[in-house]
Structure formats: C-alpha cells, structure tokens
C-alpha cells in the first residue's frame, strides 16, 4: 500500500454515548488507522456522541479508560478536522467550552454537504 499514492476522504460519525458500548472506540480506531495511512479524516460527533467530548469525565470510576482523554489528542495523530453537531450540543445544554478540544460546530446543512463530498463514511 505504501507504493500507492491513493488518498480518499474518510468521514467517521460517532453518534453514541461514551461508556454504554464499544462503538465510540471502534470509531476512534478506524479514524486513527485512516490517519496513520495519511488519509483525509473528518471526525464528526453528533447525537449522544457529543458526550464523549465532555472535559469532566473519568472512566476510572467504572474501571475503564477515559475516552475523552484520547479524543483530546486527535490532533497529535493528524486528525485536525473535528466537528460537533450544533443542534446535538444545544439540545443537551452543552457548550464548546465543556469539550476537551476546540471542535468546529457544524449544522445539518454543512454535514449533508460534507457527506456528499466524502468517499467513505463510517457510522458508529
């Protein structure tokens, strides 16, 4: 694969709460793998997925890893395009200041457009 200069846009949609299932981790794993192979990655948090980004979370209380900590360092893995659904955030009375990273707010129309311009969508 190293010989193929092929690049595509991968958009991962993380829609589920941080500690109820393995889905947020599967989503993160795919995004990191795509980034390692130097693909264009858009990471989008929507619905209950926005709870993954809360800065006051500690998985230690339930003897598990704190996913927010890993998500806070996405830029270290070359993932700079992190988006949060505006409506999902406001419906849960959350603000960008509550999040572990400076995510870009995105509306339904912009998300629609992003998905139109994406090669591969991964939905978790």
């Amino acid at each position: 694969m190293a010989n193929t200069p092929l690049t595509k846009t991968f958009t991962v949609l993380s829609r589920t709460a941080p500690y109820g299932s393995v889905r947020p981790h599967l989503c993160l794993d795919i995004a990191l793998a795509a980034a390692v192979f130097e693909q264009q990655v858009n990471y989008v948090f929507l619905n209950d997925g926005v709870y993954q980004l809360l800065n006051k979370q500690d998985g230690a209380a339930i003897e598990t890893k704190t996913i927010g900590k890993a998500l806070g360092t996405l830029n270290l893995y070359g993932i700079d395009n992190v988006y949060v659904c505006k409506d999902s955030l406001s419906l849960r009375q959350l603000e960008v200041a509550d999040l572990v990273l400076p995510a870009t707010l995105i509306g339904a129309g912009e998300l629609h457009e992003m998905l139109d311009n994406t090669d591969c969508v991964f939905n978790f």
Partner: protein, 130 residues
C-alpha cells in the same frame, strides 16, 4: 459491476446486521458484483467463530460465512485486536498466547486495521453493517 468493501461489526447471534451483511454479500455476488474484502471488526469477529453450534431449526451464520468465503474465494480479514480479546484466534495466535486451540475459521486471515483502510481505498464502495 461494483467492487465492494464490506465491514461487519455486528455479532451473529445478537444483531440482525451480521445476517444482513451476509445476505447483501451473497446478493452482490449473485448479481455479478465483486467483493473486494470482508472486514470483521468489533463484535463482528464472532462471525468467524468456528466453534459456534446452531440449534437444529436455526442457521449457523459463521458456518454460512465460511462456506461463502470458500465458495467464492473471498478475501476475508478479521481484525486482530478485536479478535484476540474476544477469543477468536487462528493457530498462530493460539500458539503465541498459548491457548491450546484455534477458534477462527482458517478461511479468514487475522490482520490489522490497515487492511480495512486498504480495502476502503481500493474498493468502489465501502458498506458498514452493525
């Protein structure tokens, strides 16, 4: 003709998605499409559990996947990090971790997530089930 990458992260007995993925794959092949790769991820790795036994009036989805993979010589990959922690191992992993027996069908290869990215890059379409 479309070349599909199929990603399965639903488990065979607890979600319908794994069976839907199987039927989609079979239908795609029957209609002259290509399957670039099957990638089993998360709980989807249980679809290659060769130790699964179905009740008499039920279908054995892992056995069906195995048959389909062999019949069409499909490229099937099981995510190593998902698989090992769920006890889905080939002979090599079984030896490495001193487990005594392999639990994965040998028709699938156990490999990393790079194989998923590679499949998504080269296939015309990537479809997720789970």
């Amino acid at each position: 003709m479309t070349d599909f990458a199929i990603v399965i992260h639903g488990a065979p007995c607890s979600s319908e998605s794994a069976h839907t993925a199987y039927r989609f794959t079979r239908a795609a092949l029957e209609n002259g499409h290509r399957i670039h790769r099957l990638f089993f991820f998360g709980d989807g790795v249980y679809n290659l559990n060769r130790l699964a036994v179905a009740a008499q009036d039920e279908t054995n989805l892992p056995a069906q996947w195995n048959e389909l993979i062999l019949k069409h010589k499909l490229d099937a990959v099981v995510c190593v990090s998902s698989a090992v922690r769920r006890g889905i191992v080939d002979t090599q992993e079984a030896e490495r971790h001193e487990l005594g027996a392999a639990s994965a069908y040998p028709s699938a290869e156990i490999a990393g997530l790079g194989q998923l990215v590679d499949a998504a890059l080269h296939a015309d379409r990537t479809i997720n089930f789970g």
